[in-house]
Symmetry: C2
Subunit: 515 residues, 2 copies
Amino acid sequence: MSSAAAKPRTAITPCREQNYPEWYQQVVRAADLAETSPVRGCMVIKPWGYSLWENMQRTLDGMFKATGHRNAYFPLFIPLSYLEREAEHVEGFAKECAVVTHHRLEAGPDGGLVPTGKLEEPLVVRPTSETIIGEMFAKWVESYRDLPLLINQWANVVRWELRTRMFLRTTEFLWQEGHTAHATREEAEAETMQMLRVYADFAENWMAMPVIPGLKSPAERFPGAVETYSIEAMMQDRKALQAGTSHFLGQNFSKASDIKFLDEEGQLIHAWTTSWGVSTRLVGGLVMTHSDDDGLVLPPKLAPAHVAIWPITHKADDPHAITTFCRSLAAELRAKTYHGRPVEVELDERDRRGGDKKWDWVKKGVPIRVEVGPRDMANNVVTVFRRDRPHNERASLPHAEFVGSVVATLDEMQDGMLARARAFRAEHTRSIDDADEFRAFFAAPKGDDGPTPIHGGFALSHWCGDAEMEAKINADLGVTIRCIPIDRLPEDDGPGTCPFTGKPSERRVVWAKAY
Amino acid sequence: MSSAAAKPRTAITPCREQNYPEWYQQVVRAADLAETSPVRGCMVIKPWGYSLWENMQRTLDGMFKATGHRNAYFPLFIPLSYLEREAEHVEGFAKECAVVTHHRLEAGPDGGLVPTGKLEEPLVVRPTSETIIGEMFAKWVESYRDLPLLINQWANVVRWELRTRMFLRTTEFLWQEGHTAHATREEAEAETMQMLRVYADFAENWMAMPVIPGLKSPAERFPGAVETYSIEAMMQDRKALQAGTSHFLGQNFSKASDIKFLDEEGQLIHAWTTSWGVSTRLVGGLVMTHSDDDGLVLPPKLAPAHVAIWPITHKADDPHAITTFCRSLAAELRAKTYHGRPVEVELDERDRRGGDKKWDWVKKGVPIRVEVGPRDMANNVVTVFRRDRPHNERASLPHAEFVGSVVATLDEMQDGMLARARAFRAEHTRSIDDADEFRAFFAAPKGDDGPTPIHGGFALSHWCGDAEMEAKINADLGVTIRCIPIDRLPEDDGPGTCPFTGKPSERRVVWAKAY
């Protein structure tokens, strides 16, 4: 009893500190973002989660179009022989491919249906589309005048994962994959960097999730790429999440698919290609960056709804008047524009207790909650709760003042979330120059029998480039090089010495445990 | 030579009258909407075609949301046992299912990759999602308070088709599928009709494609439905295209998936469900309704671009001034709003001949083309071509007048396209009361060795409801009942006599050859 009284009431059990992985699953469920499906490793994205994804899609799509890309759609199925054209590529994906082998069902000997109509060549459900898109690019590109070819696809892809987790790693997921072809290496490299910057911009300025853009070490490259770049974010358990990747493919795939063009001198040469993608994994990253022990916390710029309003009518003399007041308030808010869309309002007139409604909207992460009871209406005020403050902290605001300030409040919340996430990352990022300190930083604290306590963070340490040492550290500590930052970090102090080999190192890289 | 001179120049060979199916393929290619892919039966939707689909999606999505539906996403794969739960349903789809049987690839005896990791239960790539969504609905619905459940999904589906045609019938296609559950039969029936009306509204008021909404005969029902409704459009070869369907599923699928709820009296009963869908087939319907022998004709409300502008600079003293003039014109147009989006402008500054550019934009169906040469600029006029007029009919309009009238012109074109399509349908719709006249109406004219000349149309004839006679007419003439109209058509004259059986008939139905 006494321990329950000492602990503030929270909506999610267990809390982050107790069991982070389970907390994550509970936040996703409590917010009604998604749930597991009976199909192994596949999830169902529910309306609240899908709406969040739609907002991400709309924003990213606008950014892709503003940088000259156009959407297209390519087949779900890839003939096995296409996948085999790029040796590293097929090696990287062969172990996780869903394979279609038959094209009909017929009654079998025991009456149940069995697959029949065996295909001459099996079809792989796309794990990514470089090979099938490459085949089409080869038809579309003849001359330098056809370049650059700047294409994006919004699609589902399938990678047969053994251990799945909603949004973060699922067998089927939704994503976008950009595919471009260029006349020169320099142009393709510039495209690779441009899209990495677009992703970083989106992560920071829309998701309020700070990221480190950087180059992957060869061990972490996309299969078939010359270079892979990524954006890396720190989750609240201090692990890294790779939130988007941009690949410079060189001429590897243009040679595999024979994408050739006549240059201005009449020479027939292979194009230079890129690919880049983000997925529904971003939803998981958003959840893990901002949510708290009361559930989801949404950055206003991507929230499916900005404001939830409910009338408190059970003690009212005139419940209808309160409902009317709330509807009119909703209309006033919806007439306002917040970053390119109307302020979105959920008007909750369900026949349920106010306390239940309050918790529903807390758990769903709506930035601003508004309760209107008889006394509020009599005084022409509204009771306002902010999701970035404790759930029971309320403010009584004059009606007009609330409406007039709602957009500024949302902006303030968005900025506050980014600042808070940045501070969290800074707090758990350490420059480490000593191998023992490095091991201590990442050593899991001895806890009870329960889940491993939260520990570690981002270690900025020198690395000489030795792949064997990188592999050994991963094997020993479960820590990988997340990226070699392309921007100068505050902690960056130029060349130094690799703490593991004692060899010279050009710069610090980011080490972390990762999703 | 003389015959070529007698025939006006057109962009598409063959013309509609000569070979309609081939004309269709050529229009799709000339407009760069899509092309066939190396994956059997699957097409690649190219940017111009995908942008058209995006405009359709955006409009329909708004209509679905305005009627209370919310988007979600369900797995691509359906366990075989789920499909088997509804007997008619599985019977209807078993013959065209892509089946995933393995989840990895490994080197086989001859070195090439072979599927391994056999699944215990095969997975079907969704041909439609009633069964998997039903499984989830059963978890989500407990009480009447959870109803209605109004969900929509934008997704890809696969039906293994032997004969495919771009957009009209492909193995993989993109669509939306609405799935709803209701507490009463009446509510579910009302939903079925509401969505049929939404589709009809979209077809007529956005695609400028007149449709007849009606009930399908039992022979044409969706497998597992109690009733299927559709919208039926007449293409320019006078065949019918089923452009959207809305199904009242009764309790068939709720029993198959066990979707039960406690009603207000505390009784546990099965919900009543509906499903409804339109697909990328709409793009094919749009092409076949409006296009001509110069290529695609786009209804302005869905066109990826409303205006194409190109400078004629090769004879100009100051090419740069013309380009600047065109850019400024584009900016003025883009500042205008046409049905919820900016007027979209393609500014064609490619290094190509003006004549080539003109034909590109004709074939792509852009509603308004604008050419600006040195003389135009000197006089502050623009040379304007409309896609609904002959390709060489031009008007010289003062700059300001053109900009000021562009939205009205687009509206006029949209209305004109609908009126023209309505007139075409009226011209080729006939009330027929005699079996011989019916046969003559649908008999293919004897032509040369080439393709069957365009013939027939919609026959409004009485039908007594006899399914055997319906099947016989289909077998003999290739003609089916497209629908039993739910609105009173001008030709509708109440009850009559079935011309085939002599039995009484309640009303005329629509007979036609169909896609």
